[in-house]
Structure formats: C-alpha cells, structure tokens
C-alpha cells in the first residue's frame, strides 16, 4: 500500500488530476480492465472506489488516477511517495467483458479518460478497431493523450473552449464517428459497434441519448457513491431496466440505455452539503 510514484497530470483552473503507482502485488496480479479498488487515505477517512488504471504484475504495481474533488481525494493528493495508504482492497466489481465486437468506440470525459485507458488497451488486444473520443474543458486538462494514441486506431479530441481538437462536446464527435461508420459501411457487420463511455454523469447520459435511437450497444462504468464496495450496504444502488442493482457487485459496467440517469444524479448528490462543510473545515 506504499506509494511508489506520484505524478501531477494536470493542475490548472482548479482541476488537479494525479496519477499514483501503488505497491499492491496481489492486486497487480488479479486486476482486470474495468475493475476498481476501495481505498482509505487515512485511518478515520472514508472508503472510496477508484478505477485501476494500469497494473504491472511483475513489479507488483497498480496505478490509480484521480481528480481532487472531495475531502478524500484531496487527502490522497497530499500523500507523497513513500507514504502508505491506510487501506486498499480489491480488485472489485466485474471486469469489463472484453471480446472482439469489431469496432469499439470509447468515450472519456474529464478523469473518466483515465478509466477508459485499461479497457481500450484490452479491446485493442482482442482485435477490435478502437476509436477513442476524449474531451475536457481545455487543452491543459486533457490527460493520457499519448497513452491513448498508442492503444487506438483513431483518437478524436474535443475541448469546450476549442483550445485543442474540436471545439465542442464529445457527443458531437461521437455522432460524427457513427455517421461516418454508417456511410462507409460495406458489409452488414461493419456497423457492429460497441460504445463504452466513462465520465461525468451528464456526459454518459448524453452519450446514451446519442446511441439509443441509433440502436448501438453502449456500456457505461458507473461511479456511484459506495461505502464497503463489496455488496454489503446498498449505498450504490442504481435502477437498471426497472431493477435495483448494486454498482459495486453487479457493475460497475451497465447497459447505458437501461440506466435511470435522473435517479443516479440525485443519489450522487446525497452528501453534497456535508462534503462542502468538511472540505471547508479542513481548509481543503
């Protein structure tokens, strides 16, 4: 649980994203794309879920990437190389189902860009044509461009302010990719596309709104609030196709077209006042 390496990926406009290599030999061996860990930064801290972005089994290393949003991620960001996390457990959740779909379009927004990396890598390895679309507010906030380029056939970039790539949202790029795919279709299997999206809830909801009418299978990795993250509390419950599911043990990947997005948004805001309060108290 020792931090072996720490890198600031972006730190601008109040958005700080950090990458950390952590010594966790058992997890490094087991971790599969799409899985996550539950971590506590300090003894009296919260347990929060974080996606395993990369793992090097031979060196016993796993990598996490997080944006400093609430108290726990801010405290994590204060830890230095050599420090130990108070606790870390995993790998949790079902791995993403990797197979050869033909063409996979991965859409990442904000820190979700980091979370599509291991999945993109696995889809590429499975023989898919991998198209990646990433978006951020501005150029400085884009992370992992080089890494994603290496595991994709095409990489498309959108920024809100137009400082890099196309000015606009990832959904516009996604629409263009889908349109192009349809136009160049030569055989029926050519439009066999899987879309995999990770990012802020509104982004995933918009992606789903684009692909649903087009009938394109879309998976999202949900980052619901969790406590134990092992199926014991039900804090992360989400309605999928009118059924209650636990994001931690039934997910984190779900069919985007079946997710009750409005409920998810509301449930993600349950502790927003307390989060502000505790950050203010800790001057973070």
């Amino acid at each position: 649980m020792k931090i072996l390496n720490k890198k600031t990926l972006s730190d601008i406009q109040g958005v700080k994203v950090t990458s950390m290599d952590i010594h966790a030999p058992l997890l490094a061996v087991k971790a599969e794309p799409g899985q996550f860990i539950a971590v506590m930064a300090v003894e009296h801290g919260e347990r929060i879920p974080l996606t395993i972005v990369d793992s090097i089994p031979g060196k016993g290393i796993i990598t996490i990437i997080f944006q400093e949003v609430g108290l726990t991620t801010k405290l994590l960001g204060r830890l230095s190389v050599g420090d130990c996390l108070y606790s870390l457990v995993g790998p949790l959740g079902h791995p993403t189902q990797i197979s050869n779909y033909g063409k996979v379009v991965l859409v990442g927004g904000g820190v979700g860009i980091a979370e599509i990396y291991p999945v993109a890598k696995a889809f590429k390895k499975a023989g898919n044509k991998v198209i990646i679309i990433i978006g951020a507010r501005s150029k400085e906030l884009l992370i992992l461009e080089k890494e994603l380029k290496a595991v994709s056939d095409e990489l498309h970039i959108a920024t809100d302010d137009g400082s890099y790539g196309k000015k606009g949202f990832v959904t516009e790029l996604l629409q263009a990719v889908i349109a192009r795919s349809k136009a160049t279709k030569q055989s029926p299997s050519d439009d066999k596309i899987l879309v995999y999206a990770v990012g802020p809830i509104p982004m995933m909801k918009s992606v789903s709104a684009v692909t649903k009418p087009a009938g394109i299978k879309t998976l999202v990795s949900l980052n619901a609030l969790m406590v134990d993250a092992t199926g014991m509390c039900g804090c992360c419950r989400v309605t999928v196709g009118n059924e209650t599911k636990f994001s931690c043990v039934d997910g984190p990947d779900f069919d985007a077209h079946l997710v009750d997005w409005d409920e998810l948004v509301k449930r993600s805001r349950i502790y927003i006042d307390k989060e502000k309060h505790i950050c203010n108290l800790n001057k973070l």
Binding site: V89, G90, P91, T230, M232, G234, I270, K274, I278
Partner: protein, 472 residues
Amino acid sequence: MNRTPIKPKEINAGKRSVNFDEVVLGYQESDALAEASRCIQCKAPKCVSGCPVGIDIKKFIYELTQKDYKSAYQTIREKNNFPSLCGRVCPAEYQCRKACIFTKKDSPFSGDDTINIHFLERFIGDYGMKNGVMGTGLKPVPITRSVAVVGSGPAGLCCAGELARNGIKVVIFEGLHKTGGVLRYGIPPFRLPRNILDFEIDSLKDLGVEINTNFIVGKTKTLDELFADGFSAVFLGLGAGIPSFLGIKGENLCNIYSANEFLTRVNLMSAYKFPEAHTPVNIGKHIIVIGGGNTAMDAARCALRLQKSAGMKPDTTVIYRRTEIEMPARRLEIEHAKEEGVIFRFLVKPDGFAGDENGFVKKLTSLECTLGEPDSSGRRKPIEKPGSNFDIECDMAVIAVGLKANQILTKVTPQLNVDKYGDVIVNPQTMETSIKGVFAGGDIVGGEGTVIEAMGMAKKAAKGIINMLRSL
C-alpha cells in the same frame, strides 16, 4: 433464597441517548454474588441445553458463588472463547434463560425471574479480561497444518480460536479494513464497546492467530489459490452481508438507507463523529425504521442518538407489521429503545415512499394490519386492512428487514453447492461443504442467526476440521 433478580446498573436513558457509550454497566461483585445465589443448581440443569455452545452454566455459577472467579472463567472459556462479548450480545432470553427452570411453560421467551445468566457470564468474562486469567486448560497436541479462516465475524473468530487452541496455525482473511464483521459494522458501541471487542480479538492473536485485513477471498485470491498456498483446510464464515429491501415504490430515494449501510456508516466508519471521522451520514428530522429485529433496534437507537447529539428534537419511529410479542428483537433492546424515546407503531405495513423534487424521501404510505393465523415461522401472520392507507411524514428511513447470504465467494466458486437462498450447503455433522477440506458456519449456513448460534456452528466445524487434519 432471594427470588428478586438483580438488575445491573445502567446509564439513565436521558444521559445515555446523547452518546455512544455503553448503556448496561454490568454487575458489581456483590450484584453477581447475589444473582448467582439465586440459582438453585438443578440436578439436571436445562439451561445448558439452551446454550448453542454448551457452556456448563451450572458449574460456572457455582464457582462464582464460591468466589472462585478464575475457575468460573475457565469453565466458560472451555466452551466459549468470548465471554465478555457473548455476555453482552447473546439473546439469553431466547436461549439459556428460556431453558431455565424459572421460565413458565410455553412462554415465547424467558420470564423476568429467570437467572440473569448472560450478566453473570459478562461479569466473569470482564473479570478474566481485567485480571489476565487466560489459559483454558486445554493441552494442544500440535498439528503441523495450517487453516485459512475466511471472515472475522463471530463464526470466523470462534473457529479460529478453537483451532488455535488445538495447536493449529490459523490465518484469518477479512475483507474490510477492520476485524469483527457484524460485531463491528453492525452492533453499535453502546451495546458492545470497542475495547471489549478488541480485547477478545487480540486474545486470538496471543494464541498465534494471524489476521489479514483488506483481503477478499474470491477477489484478492480464490479458494484454490489458498490451498495452493499450503492451507490444508478452509473455514468459510462469510456471513449474511447482503441487505434485503422491501421492493416497494420509491425505495431508492435519497436518505433511504439499508440498516447495513446506516449501521456501517455509524459504527464501522464512525459517522457519529463526523466531521472528525470523514464518512458522513444524514440525520432526518422524522426518522422511520422498518423492522422488528435486533438490527432495527440498533438502527433506531443510533438514529435517535444522532438526532439528540445534533441538538434536534428526537423523532425516531419503529414500524413493524406484527405486534411487540412477535418482534424477534431481544426484549432488553426493545425496553432500552423505549426508555430512550424510540416510538413504536405496530401492525403497520409499508406500501411506498414518495419524495421531493431533489429525490429526497418525504413520506411513507402504509397500510394497517391485523394478525391472522400463525405462518411457517410460527408467528401470527399480518393481514392488510384494505383501504387503510395512511401517510407518515419522514425525511429519512432505515430498512431493517433482514439480510441475505454474502455471495462474493460463492458466485466465483461453482463447485461450492448453495441452496436457493445462496446459503452454503454443509454436512450437518462435520460442517464440511461440497468441496473437500472446505467447511462453513455462521449466517452463510442457514441464514441469519445470532452471534452465539454462529459460534455453535463454528465450533462444530472446528471439530470437523481437526478430525479431517488428524486423518491426513
């Protein structure tokens, strides 16, 4: 002989319900001696048959009356590794005390004048703890094999203790960051102070038991990998960790908690100390707790304490679809909850929640019930009165209607046979599962039970494991 039972000292309801300190202070020496002297030392004592681990109750009470506390402690420890713990959380009125000769025939639980066996056990357990009278009289014949125990709840701890006392190397694997399972995430500190729990667990470490937290068998390693690591047998004390919901409308509204989530936040994560502890829990002005078991009582008493400590007017209501008599909770917990100000509404069945525009719960619609004929559980079945719908205002609800088997390991281990509830099937004589060398006990076998029932199964499994190891 004095027929009046001795009540242990308790902190008064007003004072205690604003904090999480222990409520029942237990017996002083004079109290314990007076209570023990009430035991008539039956020739054929029935109480022992009511104890799932078979403590020689008659003997330890006699030793207590002789002030031979050390012997009394060892008598208990011969059968039970955790007297201070069980003396606090055992539902004695359904077990040893119910079997006591002073209980009237056909009574659903013990009467008030039965011997307070659990308080005597607690007195002796605490005496042993304070005075360091360890040692159990058992002389282990070392077995040069090691056993993995999965889960550090009541079953896992008990099995680990039994095996270690028989000279077996034991390693416990616990998924959470702290040990104790339900004893820590479920039972609040005001019923089981954490120093007591820590002491009982530390006593295992003194026996050479190794404990690995943050290790989920089925995720971090599989069962096969444990055997490959050299363990000769595995005990599964996985627990009943999955909360049941009611399946009614609006159940995913914000501020509707499963009892597991609410209690885990408050107890394991110390949300009652927020913001010093970082895990938050919301506190409603009008809190509803649904259920009639010990978990519901724990949740209601925690909720009330949170309201009072936040300077709010206490308003916590337990809703149960039967009546008080049918409640599975311990009588003591029901009494304590009432004294502290928890309101009870019986014969009420929840029908649906409604919320506000932000998705927070606002009210609970319920139906009134009457009691019909006894059902398969032997309790009279609640029958809804048609058209009796009524609303109860609530801005927070805790659902405490039971738990299901933890499935993290069983789902990835298809060779492990489970029943339709997901509970692990065992040979009732040995507690061995469908996989050779893998044993199980506690709530993962046969569903939700009590701490001491889990320990009873764990002891049986330990015996099964020892027999198996001897035959290798």
